[in-house]
Amino acid sequence: MRLSTVLTTMMMVLLVAGAALAGAGETVYGKGVSAPDTVLVSALLAHPDDYVGQTIRVKGTAVGVCAHRGCWINVASDVEGDVVRVKVKDGEIVFPPEIVGDTVVAEGVWTANKLDLETTKKVCANEAKNAGEEFDPESVTACKTLYQLSGTGAVVVKN
């Protein structure tokens, strides 16, 4: 009886501590951010190959979140219409949909994934489907390279 009382009390204390920690206005995901400088998304997208393999930090508005597992976010560029995707390991970091519209500082390794022609066609078909556009597989003749930030951490500031 005493043992159960002690354990229950311990759990209550831990729960209260957890709730208090979760209450802050700035939320840290994963390892947070530690890279010294922020790279402009526009600069990153203008010369993506220059940053491949580097640990970098980007900042912008979160304009998209993976609806299934919260495993990626799209961070808006300083140039309208452009976004950079921050992909994290499934389950390691889970981005909630509430962060859309908030300011995100994300850190990770900039990666390039060169697709073969068949995969490029599938990606283009999917993009066309999402945009509600017609798609002709024969129109794709060159392979695509997908760039993204393999995210290790992020800090989200509520707007």
């Binding site: 159960s4 831990l14 729960l15 957890g18 304009v63 309208e80 219409g81 519209g101």
Partner: protein, 184 residues
């Protein structure tokens, strides 16, 4: 043997009471998450469409206020984003509006946390990390104690030597068969 059984019974009873709440957390959330491919276990999502007078594809600084005025939102706007020439997105705490600037079509995608279930899943998936990791480890240890002590609670034909033994074998064989036959 009687003394050993008595210890098992005491541990099983005390830890059993302690484990009820957490077992319900993990069991209910487990069913919900197990069907994650069928539904969103954490958020209720809605999609609705409406129409507004188109504002055209002018510079964002000029059309933003017009769009917000025509949407006539009651909740505060967090941010806006010109996703492409024809689309302005408006972000609120629990929704996103995609406004087609050419046609005036408005798509609202709303989301809200599922009451209770969100919190159960938060605990089950250990999304809060540090504090819950310790609690979950203690709970898992309690389950091991409950499972092992439960074997020795009953004697005779309903116990390990009888029907209980058969049930125990079935319960052990089930994951073994799955791992060997199905997964292979």
């Amino acid at each position: 043997m009687t003394k050993f059984r008595k210890i098992c019974r005491t541990l099983h009873r005390e830890f059993g009471f302690l484990a009820v709440g957490l077992t319900l957390v993990y069991a209910i959330s487990g069913i919900a998450i197990n069907h994650a491919h069928h539904w969103d276990a954490n958020y209720a999502r809605t999609v609705s469409e409406s129409q507004m007078a188109p504002v055209g594809t002018g510079p964002t600084e000029e059309i933003r206020d017009q769009v917000l005025a025509r949407l006539d939102l009651t909740e505060p706007v967090k941010n806006t984003w010109r996703a492409d020439t024809n689309t302005l997105q408006v972000f609120l705490a629990g929704a996103r509006y995609d406004v087609d600037l050419v046609t005036g079509k408005v798509v609202r995608q709303g989301f809200s946390k599922r009451p209770l279930l969100y919190d159960l899943n938060f605990m089950h998936l250990n999304s809060g990390k540090a504090p819950w990791t310790g609690i979950a480890d203690v709970y898992a240890s309690l389950l091991i104690v409950l499972a092992l002590t439960g074997i020795f609670l009953v004697r005779g034909r309903k116990g390990l030597a009888g029907r209980g033994g058969v049930m125990l074998a079935v319960g052990v064989l089930l994951p073994v068969i799955y791992a060997v036959v199905v997964r292979a």
